[in-house]
C-alpha cells in the first residue's frame, strides 16, 4: 500500500508539473529560509554553552550606583580583589579565574608579526572551558609566567604548523614567551575568545594595576565555577556580605550572573536582566516559522484547488473499500514526498546562499552534516511541515461523500472551507505587508541616524593605535608627519575618537548641591591640537596650547557637562576630578561617539601626554588619499618597525556602528521579500483553483457575450478584496509595532505618511499582476472546452 501510494504521489507530481513546481519551490524557499534563520538562532542560542560545565560558570557584573542608591547601570566587569576574596569566603565556589577583556596586541615569530587578540587569565580557566589541546595539556599550559598558549590558527599564522611546542614568540615586541600549548580554535559564539592566552602571573609582572589587589578598578573579568545546583540568589547575598566587609559600603557593587546567559539576556535595568538579544531571537524564530507557514498554506490551498479532481478519486476509492484512514495516509504520503523533495532543494539553496548570508551578517554559519542533532532537527521540521501542509487537504478531501463526489456536486457545501481559505490568504498577506512596512521603517531609521550630523568632519580623519615606539617617540613621529605634508594636524588620546569606554564619577564642581556626583562622566586624555585636528565645534574658550604652561591643569568640557555643572560662563571656572582641581579652558559641542542612537555622557578632556592609546590625524586633502596613506605607512614603519601599520578611517568606524540595525534591516528585507514571493505563488495557485471551479460558468458567460475584460474583472476582484482586507488589518498592526520599535531609540525618525500607502499599493500591485496572469489565461480560453463536459 505504502509503495503504491508513493508511486502514485510521484506520478501525480509529475503529471501536474505547474502546481508541483509552485508547491515544491514555495516549500523549498520556505524551508530554506526557515533553516537559515534557525541556523542563525542556534548559533546565537548556543553562545557560551559549548563547555561541559557551561551551566555552572558565572561571570561578575558591576552595578553602578546612581541617585538614591538605585542601580543606574550594569556591565560585565570586576575588580582584582573580588575573585580571591569570594573564593576564600564561599564554599559554593569551586574555581575562579580573573581575566582581562582582551586586546589586539602584537605577537611575533621573528619578523613574522601580527596583531591578534590576546588575553590573560588565571589557570582555573581550564576548569571552565573544555579547550581541546593539540599540543601540551591544561596541567602544564600556563604554570610558568613566561609561557603562552596559542590557538591552532594563530600557530599556523605564525609558524605555518601546530608543531610549535617550546618555540619562542615575542609579545608586544618586548617579551619572549615560551609556547607551552596549542588548542583548537574556540567556537565563534563564545564571549571569551582569544588568539593567544597568557598567564595572569605574567600580566601582574607587566601591569601594575593588575598586580595591585584593590576594590576600586573595575577593569577585569572574573569568572567563577560554582558547585552544581548552587543557589545563585544565596551566593549573591553572601557576596554582598563579603563586599561590605571589605569596602565598608552596603551597596552591592558586584554580583554573579550566568555566563551562558550574558549574550542573550545582557540588557540590565536596576541590576536585573530584562532581556536583550533574546528578543531578536524570538523575532527570528517567529519569522522562520511564519515563512514556512506561508509555504504550508500555499500547499493546502493548492491541494484543495485540485479537490474537484481528487474528490472523484476519493469517491471511487471509498466504493472499492478504502476507509478514511487509508485516504488520509495517502494524502499525507503525498505531502511528505513533496516536502522531502522540497527539503533537498532547500538544503541546496541554503548551501548556495549561506556564503552570501554569512558575508552580509559577518558571521560564519554552516550546516554540520555529520551531526545527528541537526539531522534530527531537519527531519522533525520536514515531518511537521508535511503534516501541517498535508493535514488540511487530507482531512478535508477524505471526508467527501462518495455519491456527491461522483455526481460532481461538491462546492455547494464548501462554504466553510472557502472562508477558511480566505482567512489563510488574508493572514499570509498581512504577514507580508507587515514585513514590507518593517523593512521600510528600519531602512528609514538607519538613514536618519546616518544623516544625523556627527558633530565634526569625519571624512579626512584616520586613526592608528599608539603602539610600541609611537608612545615614546610621539613628538618625533608628529614632526615627521607634519613635515611630509600628508597630515595637516594630529593628536594623541587615551581612547579612540569614535569610542570612549572610560567612565568615571569622581567629579565635583563649584556650587554642587549633592554630597557626591551620581552622573557618569566620560574622560579623554590628550595633548595639543585636539580640537584643531578633529574640528569639533568649540563654543567657548580655546584648545590646549603650548603658550599656556598652566594647561596641564586645564580641561575641555562638553556642553552637556556644563549643563550638569550648571555653569553660566564655564570658561575660567573650575571642577575637580579624582581629588585634583582643574580649570575649564574651553567648551565644545557634544558630538557622536559610541552609540549614534542615544545621547552620550558628559565628557571631560584632560591634558596628559602620559596616557597614550590612539593617534588621530587629519589628512592633507590637497594630496591624493593614496599618497597620504603611503606616506603615513612609511613614516610609521620607520619609527615603529616591529608593529604592522593599521590605518583606520573614521568614517568606516562610524559605519560599523549601524551593524546591529543593518542586520535587522537585511533580514527583514530578505525574508520580507521571500514572504511576498511565496505568498504570490500561493495566490497564483488559488486563482488557478477559482478559474478551474468556474470554467463552466466562464464558458457560459462567454457564449452569452462577456468580454475578456469582464471575465478578468470577475475573477480578480474577489482576490483583490482579500488583499484589501489584509491591508486594512496589517497597516495598524505594523504602525503600532514599528512605533514601538522606534521608541527604543533616543534619536528616531517618524513613520512617514507615505510608507503605508507604498506598502499597500506595492502589495496590491504584486497581487494584481499575479492574479491577472491567470485570469487572462482563463478568460481567453475557448468556451467549447469548458462546455463539452457532461
Amino acid at each position: 500500500m505504502f509503495r503504491l501510494n508513493l508511486k502514485i504521489a510521484l506520478r501525480n507530481l509529475w503529471k501536474n508539473k505547474t502546481s508541483s513546481f509552485i508547491n515544491v519551490i514555495g516549500l523549498a524557499i520556505g524551508l530554506a529560509a526557515c533553516l537559515m534563520l534557525l541556523l542563525y538562532v542556534t548559533y546565537e542560542w548556543n553562545f557560551d554553552k559549548q563547555a561541559k560545565e557551561a551551566a555552572n560558570v558565572y561571570t561578575t557584573m558591576t552595578n553602578i550606583e546612581g541617585d538614591n542608591r538605585k542601580i543606574s547601570g550594569t556591565f560585565e566587569g570586576s575588580v582584582t580583589a573580588f575573585g580571591p576574596a569570594i573564593k576564600a569566603a564561599l564554599p559554593e565556589v569551586m574555581y575562579t579565574a580573573r581575566m582581562d577583556y582582551g586586546k589586539e596586541n602584537l605577537i611575533a615569530n621573528g619578523t613574522n608579526a601580527f596583531k591578534c587578540k590576546s588575553k590573560f587569565a588565571e589557570t582555573d580557566i581550564f576548569k571552565m572551558y573544555d579547550y581541546e589541546f593539540i599540543q601540551g595539556s591544561a596541567k602544564t599550559a600556563l604554570n610558568n609566567p613566561n609561557s603562552i598558549l596559542l590557538t591552532e590558527s594563530t600557530a599556523k599564522l605564525l609558524f605555518g604548523s601546530t608543531d610549535v611546542l617550546n618555540k619562542v614568540v615575542r609579545f608586544k615586541d618586548k617579551y619572549d614567551l615560551n609556547i607551552t600549548a596549542v588548542i583548537r580554535d574556540q567556537a565563534e559564539n563564545s564571549s571569551n575568545r582569544f588568539d593567544y592566552l597568557m598567564p595572569w602571573s605574567f600580566y601582574e609582572s607587566i601591569d601594575e594595576s593588575a598586580k595591585s589587589i584593590n576594590w576600586g578598578n573595575y577593569s577585569y573579568i572574573t569568572l567563577f565555577r560554582l558547585k552544581e545546583n548552587a543557589d545563585l540568589a544565596a551566593v549573591n547575598q553572601k557576596i554582598m556580605a563579603v563586599i561590605k566587609n571589605n569596602t565598608r559600603n552596603d551597596f552591592q557593587t558586584q554580583a554573579l550572573f550566568p555566563l551562558s546567559k550574558l549574550h542573550l539576556y545582557g540588557k540590565f535595568e536596576d541590576g536585573k536582566s530584562i532581556g536583550g538579544a533574546i528578543e531578536q531571537i524570538y523575532l527570528f524564530v517567529g519569522l522562520a516559522f511564519g515563512i514556512l507557514l506561508i509555504a504550508c498554506i500555499n500547499f493546502m490551498n493548492m491541494a484543495t484547488a485540485k479537490s474537484e479532481k481528487r474528490a472523484k478519486e476519493v469517491g471511487i476509492k471509498k466504493t472499492i473499500g478504502a476507509n478514511r484512514t487509508s485516504l488520509i495516509i495517502q494524502f499525507l504520503t503525498e505531502s511528505m514526498v513533496l516536502t522531502f523533495i522540497a527539503v533537498v532543494i532547500a538544503i541546496a539553496l541554503l548551501e548556495l546562499s549561506l556564503p552570501a548570508f554569512n558575508h552580509l551578517l559577518n558571521i560564519n554559519l554552516g550546516i554540520s552534516y555529520f551531526n545527528a542533532a541537526s539531522w534530527t532537527g531537519i527531519l522533525a521540521i520536514v515531518l511537521a511541515t508535511g503534516l501541517i501542509a498535508g493535514s488540511y487537504p487530507a482531512f478535508y478531501l477524505s471526508s467527501f461523500n462518495p455519491v456527491q463526489t461522483l455526481k460532481r456536486k461538491i462546492g455547494s457545501k464548501g462554504q466553510w472551507s472557502v472562508s477558511l481559505r480566505q482567512v489563510l490568504v488574508v493572514g499570509q498577506f498581512c504577514f507580508a505587508i507587515i514585513l514590507i512596512v518593517a523593512t521600510l521603517v528600519i531602512y528609514r531609521q538607519i538613514q536618519y541616524i546616518k544623516n544625523r550630523p556627527v558633530g565634526f568632519d569625519i571624512n579626512a580623519l584616520v586613526e592608528i593605535p599608539q603602539d610600541g615606539q609611537l608612545k615614546g617617540k610621539y613628538e618625533l613621529f608628529k614632526n615627521e608627519l607634519l613635515q611630509s605634508g600628508a597630515v595637516s594636524a594630529m593628536f594623541q588620546s587615551s581612547v579612540s575618537l569614535s569610542h570612549h569606554g572610560s567612565n568615571f564619577m569622581d567629579v565635583a564642581w563649584e556650587g554642587m548641591t549633592k554630597p557626591t556626583n551620581t552622573v557618569l562622566f566620560n574622560q579623554v586624555a590628550t595633548t595639543y591640537d585636539f580640537i584643531k585636528t578633529n574640528g569639533i565645534k568649540l563654543t567657548d574658550g580655546r584648545d590646549f596650547s603650548k603658550n599656556f604652561a598652566s594647561d596641564s591643569v586645564g580641561v575641555l568640557v562638553s556642553a552637556s557637562a556644563v549643563k550638569v555643572f550648571g555653569y553660566k560662563n564655564a570658561v575660567g571656572k573650575t571642577m575637580s576630578a579624582f581629588g585634583d582641581k582643574y580649570h575649564i579652558i574651553g567648551v565644545f559641542d557634544d558630538y557622536v561617539w559610541d552609540s549614534p542612537y542615544k545621547s552620550n555622557n558628559p565628557m571631560v578632556v584632560f591634558f596628559d601626554p602620559g596616557r597614550t592609546g590612539y593617534i588621530t590625524m587629519r589628512l592633507n586633502e590637497t594630496n591624493s588619499l593614496q599618497s597620504n596613506i603611503e606616506t603615513i605607512t612609511k613614516i610609521t614603519k620607520g619609527i615603529n618597525p616591529a608593529f604592522p601599520v593599521e590605518v583606520k578611517f573614521l568614517n568606516n568606524l562610524y559605519l560599523e556602528k549601524y551593524n546591529a540595525e543593518k542586520t535587522l534591516g537585511i533580514l527583514s528585507n530578505l525574508f520580507g521579500g521571500l514572504a511576498i514571493f511565496v505568498s504570490c505563488l500561493g495566490l497564483f495557485g488559488l486563482v488557478a483553483y477559482s478559474a478551474e471551479q468556474r470554467t463552466k460558468e466562464f464558458g457560459v458567460r462567454k457564449v452569452l457575450g462577456a468580454s475578456v475584460a469582464n471575465l478578468m474583472q470577475l475573477l480578480s476582484l474577489s482576490f483583490l478584496k482579500m488583499i484589501a482586507v489584509a491591508i486594512v488589518i496589517a497597516i495598524p498592526v505594523s504602525y503600532y509595532a514599528m512605533g514601538k520599535w522606534l521608541i527604543k531609540f533616543e534619536f528616531h525618525t517618524d513613520i512617514s505618511w507615505w510608507i503605508m500607502p507604498v506598502a499597500a499599493v506595492g502589495t496590491l500591485l504584486m497581487a494584481l499582476i499575479t492574479v491577472s496572469f491567470q485570469a487572462y489565461k482563463t478568460a481567453k480560453a475557448n468556451p467549447v472546452d469548458a462546455l463539452k463536459y457532461e
Binding site: K15, I316, T319, I320, G321, V403
Partner: protein, 227 residues
C-alpha cells in the same frame, strides 16, 4: 439477500417534499440478475444508490444479507464494500493515476489480501478479460469498452457476492455494450454473482432474469424475463 421495505426518499425544499422514491418494497435473492428500468428522473439511480448504501433512505428499512443496514456506520459500510459489493459505473470511474493493474489491485490492497494471492487473482482477471497486454497502460490510453472491462475486473477482484452497475454500457457503442452484457450474464450464471443494473435499454434488460419498472419513484411493474 436484499430486502427493501417501504423505502422512501424525498428532498425537503421550502417545506415542500419532492419525492424521489415512494414506498418501494421488494426482495432480491442471491443469484438474481435484476435490471431497473424507467424514464429519466424516475428514481432508478437513487434506488441503486440506496441498495449500494451510497445514500440513505429518508424512511423505510433495508436488510442486506439479513442485517439491518438502513443507517450503517461508515466503518461497517466499508467492511461490506470490501467483502460483498462491487460497483460498476457508467463513467467507469477508474483512477487516472493508476495503471490497469493497479486499478484492479486497489480493492485487494484495501482488503489486505496477501501479495501472492493478489498477484494470482489479478493475473486470473486480466487473463479472463483478455487485457493482459494492457496491464501497464493508464485508463486514458484505453477505449471506453476496455475501460469498462477494467472497471468490471476491479469490481470482481474482491470476489463480491453482488455487483451494482449504474448504466454500465451507457457510454459504450453497441458492440462493446453487448460484450459487457454477455459478460454480466456469464458471471451471473456461472459464478452465481447477484447483479443489479440500472439501464435504459430494453435489449440490455433482456440479459437479466428480472426487470423492475420504476416511474415517478414507484415500482410500477416487477416482471421476470423469459429466456
Amino acid at each position: 439477500m436484499i430486502q427493501l421495505t417501504n423505502i422512501e426518499k424525498y428532498y425537503a425544499n421550502k417545506g415542500v417534499k419532492n419525492y424521489v422514491l415512494r414506498l418501494v418494497t421488494t426482495t432480491i435473492n442471491q443469484g438474481e440478475f435484476v435490471s431497473i428500468m424507467g424514464p429519466s428522473g424516475a428514481g432508478k439511480s437513487t434506488l441503486l444508490n440506496i441498495i449500494g448504501m451510497l445514500e440513505e433512505p429518508t424512511y423505510g428499512t433495508y436488510h442486506f444479507m439479513g442485517e439491518d443496514v438502513t443507517s450503517l456506520s461508515e466503518r461497517k459500510r466499508i467492511e461490506l464494500y470490501r467483502n460483498h459489493i462491487g460497483f460498476v459505473f457508467q463513467a467507469y470511474h477508474l483512477i487516472d493515476e493508476m495503471t490497469v493493474y493497479e486499478n484492479i489491485e486497489a480493492p485487494l490492497l484495501y482488503k489486505k489480501v496477501g501479495s501472492a494471492e493478489r498477484a494470482s487473482r489479478i493475473a486470473d482477471l486480466l487473463d479472463r478479460f483478455n487485457i493482459v497486454a494492457k496491464k501497464d497502460l493508464f485508463p486514458n490510453q484505453l477505449s471506453g469498452g476496455q475501460q469498462q472491462l477494467v472497471g468490471i475486473a476491479r469490481a470482481l477482484a474482491a470476489q463480491p457476492s453482488i455487483i451494482l452497475a449504474d448504466e454500465p454500457t451507457g457510454n459504450l457503442q453497441s458492440a462493446q455494450a453487448e460484450e459487457i452484457m454477455s459478460l454480466f450474464k456469464k458471471l451471473n450464471e456461472e459464478e452465481g454473482i447477484t447483479i443489479i443494473q440500472v439501464t435504459h435499454s430494453e435489449k440490455n434488460a433482456q440479459y437479466g432474469n428480472r426487470i423492475l419498472h420504476i416511474a415517478d419513484g414507484v415500482v410500477k411493474e416487477d416482471v421476470a424475463v423469459l429466456s
